[in-house]
Symmetry: C3
Subunit: 466 residues, 3 copies
């Protein structure tokens, strides 16, 4: 039996890290121009209307992204019959840490003001912090139920760092575009998480608890639907104001609708007796959102979006049916939530779609101004052509893949150290290792009903009858 | 025993229709001016600010409507104890198909650009597509649990078409106003769905499974609350920018609040021992939103809204208590979700309120400009008076009623064809006909607990005790 | 056995009050300038763009607040194993009444137009009405499960009145700032509710039903997460447009993130075996939002927000562990939802943080214009200094505390009158007193599983096996 006692470890890690955040925020983080009280002065001097504050351009999208991160990812993972607290609760914990840490990391890499050494944050920083948290939560899906909260916090610490480094390389150095994060969020999160899961492979894992029950599947659908509905906001939240945000929404909306039909079609075709499998509805339907992560804001056309959505919904669902068992058998990757199918493959598809769409861009379609705005052909990148841009998009995918596998390997071995309080094999996918589960009698009864109860507790149900 | 095998039927219908959507989108659908990359050029030539893109006027409302369609309607129907997957899942499937198909149908009827033969879509098109899907989902509520997913897709195909035709007649030809869709969405959806349910009448239906359990009623309340909270967005989403949207929100907010009090009052008064019935809380409280579907954007006044809300909450709840049993007994309409009480009657009330409010409009109340803007007294309708407008509103209700009953009859008989895989009477309201239901042991236990188990499985509970 | 029959009482109270609302709305309430059809005229005369309607500045925030009131508070309270209907349903009922009544009360006190004796309402009025409802729902949390719906309606009637009076004194007379309502909403709601709970003390209350089960804790997390995610909107919804709303969001976002880490740290440290307690995750994580209720819009700085969030998350969770048992034992306050820990203490912290932040404001930090705008140093308050403002903030806290305890005492004794249909001790925390609970057999089974069944029903489980 492993020592999973969290009394000292978890409080200390949480408190030390929170203290570090306070100190680092104190040294580095300040309001940006539009959230500072001096804005009333600057605004008047620039003759701006009150509405020309980025707050009004992006706040609705921000809140949708926020819901996706905390309710979407959190509830999506509640499908496990006895890991609902861990799914929602650890999601809450590591996302709350990650957004703080990524405000710092992304600030250092992207928006440090060298004149005063401060990071100036505004609403767009919060959106980017939520994006980074999303990537962390994707990786969480790969190790769900098999790690301790302390391991999750360690993993988040490193992954946020890796995220900022990768983002810096592919957006700032390579000049790639990735508004909805097909690469920076999904590919990175998925392959980082899968590599960690590989290193933490448990040969004797009891897969019987890695299952859903009726109500847990409904809770999970809450997560699915919020992710699905708000994905158009996700893919357009940091796009240029105006037509790019507008177009990002339309494209993602179309793509997601197509994914639903193909995911359900594939599920019904391959599952026994032609029945639909909830796992595919919960996940495959979302592939169209991931697959537009790069190209949503581009002139992909609505029918192009439908094609991408239809293909990615199909491929993702096929992945759940055929690929996941092979990954576990041959590559020894135990992917609890199927992140390879929902974020890995569709993320790679998204990166490729983005590269091709960028390479195919013309002045006729975008207008001269539009092309410059869409791909940032300014400053250092002023003389880029669309086809060169396409090449850099492809390079960005390669960089992301390399960094995520490399980073995942290192972090995986760090997490293997024996003092992080990870659960024993038989306690995986069980809330009561780390959570007070309510009602002793009820808990026992639940263990009769929902979990295969150990033979040493035979009389529970009988007791209540006397 | 009927053949409910979906292995071929469902995948083929889904894939063929998705392929058709891709081809038709490719031929017909393009971005509109404000979502096209050329907008940066047009915008500057017209000296518009970045914010003057309809995206910023309507995106928050759109997302609220989107939540109502997918979470609101989806979870509202999860009240059935063993049909949660079907409620949320089929809702997801048919809404995803309907929004694609209605972008085409509504485009052909309303916004085809005859210069190039293309439909130009923007955010407002997406809102209208969601509205159309809402109408389809209302009809779904009438046949919930009694049809196969293939039947639902067929039904959606026809209903979207009917929706576009009806909308064209009453909005474009008759010049009626119906911003929140009391007629085009609610009356059409309800009476179409009820007519289909009538044609598909099952005399030997086992109503014991048509019931809720404790947790399923809570899931259903998620649907109710999202519908209730976001209804102000629904009724104002496509209203004129400015005061009309603002007013639509205020009126709907007031009306809905009044519905809650009267629905609960009526429930407690008529139910046994004065207890409140969750069915009425889940449905009657929403009647005030439906009943403002036409008049929300008009100068109905806040107290006028309270009156409409109070009356419709009362009538809707009385409908559940007294009318639904009569409909089943005498008209042989088995209305699973009570759509007649939530959408039918309140929709008719809403159409009448709209006609009266329009007829009573004066220049004093609206101002000369305001009257023109509110009722579209321009172009072909430039010399209309409010009372003439009221008459046309009433005519629009009649047209909608006729079309919905006529269309429902035809579609009902199409759905009666014997090869769509509909469930047998004893499998109605049961998820496991079309869904893989998790955990065999659990499923068996659930059937003991939640459903009257057949006498041939007596030992399940006993087994777990040994 | 007490008479809990609601057949006459509840319908009559609901209907009489709704009728009163209709009459009073008819006499007093009209659209404000921006929601009236004449706006098209005024707008043009003032050369405003269509977007310069408060609707576009505040509608997204309003909808977030709306979700917090109806889903957030409603589902937060569903943690009780057998009181889910009451939590969500009574929340729905009293919030719907309170928003109507507070439109009137707040209108009379704040926005009565003396030229025509009318209250002009717009979107900001709806936000304020929702705020007032939130305060009522906080008090509801203190008496949850121990009162009848009629008592709740009576309590709401008085509390809304008290809210408007207190708001008038501290905002209009004292000139305090309290944009997110640390005082007007949280302190008032908490101490009013606790005082009522004290007066209604039940010495023989069976606390065994005052517990959660596994799924009810997950439902409760829906409430927690929506409150947490949308709290930035809550604290900035009625702030000045522009940088103040923007800053309110950033500060609250930071504070809430810090609360999550400290709440979980404290929970794990003090609970047995270092396990995390869901009660603390459901509540302590939100303390950072309450504690920024006054200062969110001020120049608190992001690290200041982290400090406040970290402290309040800690204190709130410690309150649940150590203070609540003492309150019950020595002060005889049975605080069902722990409102003292979530709203009481953090609200007081928030008021103090607000007073200190205000007192410390300088022209350097805010700019001259910014200082005037932030603290309303205009008109009657034109020659106030920040330190004087700080003093008035502190005075406002004292006034609020006095009024809430005084009001709570009076209302408590009114609610003690014997004809309001309150439940007997053994029926507390039980839905089936006031609600039709579905499925008799199931209900009986549930009482075996989830509740300690009385010895007189031994054969229920056995029965179903025959």
């Amino acid at each position: 039996m492993k020592n999973t006692l969290m009394r000292w470890k978890l409080p200390i890690v949480c408190l030390v890290w929170q203290l570090a955040m306070i100190i680092l925020f104190g040294v580095f983080i300040r309001y940006d121009e539009e959230s500072d009280a001096h804005w009333s002065v600057t605004r008047m001097s620039q003759n701006h209307s009150l509405l020309e504050n980025q707050f009004y351009f992006r706040y609705p999208s921000f809140q949708d992204v926020h819901v996706m991160v905390f309710v979407g990812f959190g509830f999506l993972m509640t499908f496990l019959k006895r890991y609902g607290f861990g799914s929602v609760g650890f999601n809450f914990l590591i996302a709350s840490f990650s957004i703080q840490w990524s405000l710092l990391m992304q600030g250092w890499f992207h928006s440090l003001d060298f004149s005063d050494g401060k990071i100036k944050i505004g609403l767009e920083s919060l959106i980017n912090a939520d994006f980074c948290a999303a990537s962390v939560l994707i990786a969480f899906g790969g190790v769900l139920g098999k790690v301790s909260p302390v391991q999750l916090l360690i993993m988040s610490l490193f992954q946020v760092t890796l995220y900022a480094v990768n983002e810096f390389i592919i957006l700032d150095v390579l000049g790639a575009k990735d508004a909805g994060g097909a690469m920076v969020i999904h590919v990175l999160g998925a392959y980082f998480g899968l590599t960690v899961a590989r290193v933490l492979y448990r040969p004797n894992l009891d897969q019987k608890k890695n299952e859903s029950v009726y109500h847990s599947d409904l809770f999970s659908m809450i997560g699915t639907l919020y992710l699905w509905m708000f994905w158009p906001s996700f893919n357009s939240a940091i796009s240029n104001n105006g037509d790019a945000q507008h177009r990002g929404v339309i494209n993602t909306y179309c793509s997601l609708a197509a994914s639903v039909l193909t995911a359900i079609a594939v599920s019904s075709f391959f599952e026994k007796k032609g029945k639909i499998n909830m796992v595919h509805v919960q996940n495959g339907t979302l592939a169209g959102g991931v697959a537009l992560g790069t190209a949503a804001e581009m002139m992909l056309t609505p029918y192009g979006s439908l094609i991408v959505g239809a293909i990615s919904g199909t491929v993702s669902t096929l992945g759940f049916i055929f690929l996941s068992p092979l990954l576990e058998k041959y590559l020894k990757i135990q992917d609890t939530c199927g992140i390879h199918n929902l974020h890995g493959i569709p993320g790679v598809i998204g990166a490729i779609v983005g590269a091709v769409t960028a390479a195919a861009a013309t002045e006729e379609v975008y207008s001269r101004e539009g092309l410059k705005a869409a791909f940032g052909f300014e400053g250092r990148f002023a003389d880029r052509t669309p086809s060169v841009q396409g090449g850099h998009q492809a390079a960005a995918l390669c960089v992301t893949l390399l960094l995520s596998v490399g980073g995942g390997t290192i972090v995986g071995f760090i997490l293997k150290l024996p003092f992080w309080g990870d659960p024993s094999d038989e306690n995986c996918f069980e809330d009561d290792v780390y959570w007070e589960v309510p009602g002793e009698e009820e808990a026992a009864l639940y263990s009769v009903h929902y979990v295969n109860s150990p033979p040493t507790k035979p009389a529970v149900n009988g007791d209540t009858q006397q």
